[in-house]
């Protein structure tokens, strides 16, 4: 498989606190990679550096395809008052002239059709006209995935996409992410806090510790001691 996302030597400090200390990893097209790590280990910072929401101090990010990577968030971040379809359209505004993108009524027909097919992909085409806030958390997260798909990226990042969802909804979203990798050939990288979900859905698991990737395993080979090492309280760092 070809590499869709490669990250080399990513560094980031906030003040004198070094969060990323040379992070290297790659994600291939067609695979779902799960990133594990303790609270504060820098998982979100790494993803935000990849999509450009945070400016890294150093490092190289290479992404396949014409657009940047797409991303979904734990807090979902839909515009609650707008309809589901308008939210999905909003993911595909890049490059449109302002005259076609300042309000949903102006959105071009092609964009609406593309958004509709993305909604079909996540199984929510029948809710297109509903206000986003009316949907359940799990459904909203799938709408957020559709919005990310509407961007047309080859790389999809997800920062704790299921942390706010109940187990059934979490499974649905993880199944969706796995399908997007395996069937649609996207490179998907998701931050999770549940090692069990990682074992069940991921192809590969990475572990972030002390600002570096310290663990890389096929999901099937992930052992309890791997997990313990990642989440062990570390007195040297905490002090």
């Amino acid at each position: 498989m070809d590499t869709a996302l490669s990250v080399k030597g990513l560094r980031k400090s906030f003040g004198d606190r070094t969060v990323l200390n040379g992070v290297d990893f790659r994600v291939d097209s067609g695979e779902l990679v799960v990133l594990l790590g303790a609270n504060g280990s820098g998982k979100s910072t790494a993803l935000r550096c990849v999509v450009g929401l945070t400016k890294p101090d150093a490092g190289e990010v290479k992404i396949a395809g014409k657009t940047s990577a797409a991303m979904v968030f734990q807090q979902i971040h839909l515009v609650r008052r707008r309809s589901v379809i308008d939210n999905v359209c909003a993911g595909g505004l890049a490059g449109l002239p302002l005259s076609r993108s300042l309000a949903p009524v102006l959105f071009p027909k092609e964009l609406k059709e593309r958004a509709m097919s993305c909604l079909e992909r996540v199984g929510l085409a029948d809710r297109a006209r509903d206000k986003a806030s009316k949907l359940s958390g799990g459904q909203q997260q799938r709408v957020a995935v559709a919005r990310a798909l509407c961007q047309g990226a080859k790389v999809l990042l997800a920062d704790e996409p299921v942390s706010a969802l109940d187990p059934a909804a979490a499974k649905q979203v993880m199944d969706l992410l796995a399908e997007l990798a395996h069937e649609d050939g996207l490179a998907v990288a998701a931050v999770l806090h549940q090692p069990d979900l990682a074992r069940r859905h991921a192809d590969r698991v990475l572990g972030l510790l002390h600002g570096e990737i310290r663990l890389a395993r096929p999901a099937g080979e992930l052992s309890e001691s791997d997990i313990d090492a990642l989440y062990a309280p570390d007195l040297v760092v905490e002090a």
Binding site: S68, M71, V72, R80, R81, A90, L93, L102, Q151
Partner: protein, 256 residues
Amino acid sequence: MKTRKYLTTFGIVAALAVAHVFAWRGAEISPGALADGWHGMARFLGEAVPPDLDWATVVQPGLEACLVTLAMGLLGTTLSVPIALALAVLGTRGRNPVVFQLARGIMSLLRATPEIVFGLIFVTAVGLGPFAGVLALLTHNIGVMGKLWSEAMDEVDPGPADALRVSGANGAQVVANAVLPAVVPALVGLLLYRLDVNVRSSLTLGVVGAGGIGFLIYQSIQLFQFKQMATYILMVLVVVIVVDLFSAAVRRRLAR
């Protein structure tokens, strides 16, 4: 540790008690005067019923004055929108600290000065009448609404904007499709709340000569026309309740 906590509490209570003693004297509180004046007030209220409902001399001028009051409240609110909006945007967090402090400073100054003081100033500038009232309301309202709007803008969740930025949307697209949909309902809600308050404030401005139903009430008290006063107060009651219901209903819709 516990003793210190008790001592602090005791200190605060004692300070409050002393403050009340001074305040009581400073405000010249006199229950005796209230008891003595009670008969006067009772007579005064007795004379107010039944209200004077003469169409030509009371009701019609009263209704016209109510419209003036509403007009003052409306214009005092809407005309303040452009400057309030500009100051509110400049006064949001994460901006150049000099600009931020300056904008918040101007708004604090306008907010701290009551409408009635602006009213007195503008009456000397443009003469008696509702125009002075509108100017007074809008100046004070710029400060209050600007601050409320700034805070509403500060509270907007940056998440949806981040999500659009990631997808490659440009600044204008992000504002139009993530920031405004979140912030506009809040701003409109606050605007309606201020409309409600300003209609009530324009009543007091009548006293310093800004016209409207407030002025008629003031005048009827000065002339001991208590039956007329009663009519006007009933009208005010209706106006205030209607405006309040209207603004509350719209705000409730927006909140959904």
